[in-house]
Amino acid sequence: MTDASFETQTTPGEAQFGDYVALLKPRVMSLVVFTAAVGLLAAPGAIHPFVAFFAVLCIAIGGGASGALNMWYDADIDRVMKRTSRRPIPSGRVAPEEALAVGLTLSGFSVIMLGLATNWAAAALLAFTIFFYAVVYTMWLKRWTPQNIVIGGAAGAFPPMIGWAAVTGGISLESVLMFGLTFLWTPPHFWALALFMKSDYEEAGVPMLTVTHGRRATRRHIFAYTFPLAALAIGTAFTSIGGPLYLAVAVLMNALFVKGAWDILRRDEPLAEADAYRVEKRYFTFSLLYLFLHFGALLAEAALRPWGLGGW
């Protein structure tokens, strides 16, 4: 038997290691890592720093695994959308079966390792998050209802709850509020994106609100969501994880977020097209800063607490 008898026919654009990393959606992973770390550090109780690091790593890998399962299932629509057409599967570098294998393996690995390192409540939450994103959002909701973003947003909101559970072994009001912050933030964030990436979702046949209910209704929805979001974000300041610094950040950021949504509401399509969706793009970018600063302020409160400065 010689080397020649092995399968040596490979595709021209053969997958490199980076393509498998890309399956895990590293940019989404950064949000998962950050919010999970905040949930973990804001939680009452002690955890060994290495166990904390390992727990965040497991949550990130679990999030990445659900991203790989999403890419496996959505390869057909990713091929159509300009934004996603260069992903590893639609570009032909990674076979769909490989992505499925990577997703399933890393899902099992991350859940079991998180359970062994911390506790099984955190592991169960991570397993549910993967299931929610890969099955409930990707397979059921995304192609079926314009509320896909609203309900599917829960998947991205779980990481701080998992981080919290890794320390405390359970769920509490504070962890639910951290979940709610990302959950209510997701719809206006994605609908702003949908406003200026309109042809992508339409061509792929994904029932985004902009496609099913029109752009006027989407603008109204963005504006409406900022109020419960602001109430929840500011209300969190008065719990055990909040404090004066967080309150100041929340009040300022939510005032700006409501103002941005108001600017979007007042505009119509001809006006938006005339300046290439400048306001919508600015709002989308600002929404990233909004979430980062909220969780950053919670982190600062937790970091200041040992010196008697954080909290009320």
Binding site: A15, F17, G18, V21, F50, V51, F54, A117
Partner: protein
């Protein structure tokens, strides 16, 4: 007998193989680190010692 030139397939898969090797090495290191962290957190008590309350 001389070493053969690496096959084109091996050259193309170099990054993939190297990456996987590094991932496995990191995994082993993480499990080792986790073991050390867990053991240092709670001192090991032998079943007999736990009953009598003795240290060894």
């Amino acid at each position: 007998m001389s070493f053969r030139e690496p096959h084109d397939l091996h050259k193309r898969r170099w990054s993939r193989n190297l990456g996987l090797g590094v991932v496995l090495a990191v995994f082993v290191s993480l499990v080792f680190g986790l073991t050390i962290a867990k053991v240092s957190q709670s001192p090991i008590q032998l079943p007999g010692a736990a009953q009598t309350g003795e240290g060894n």
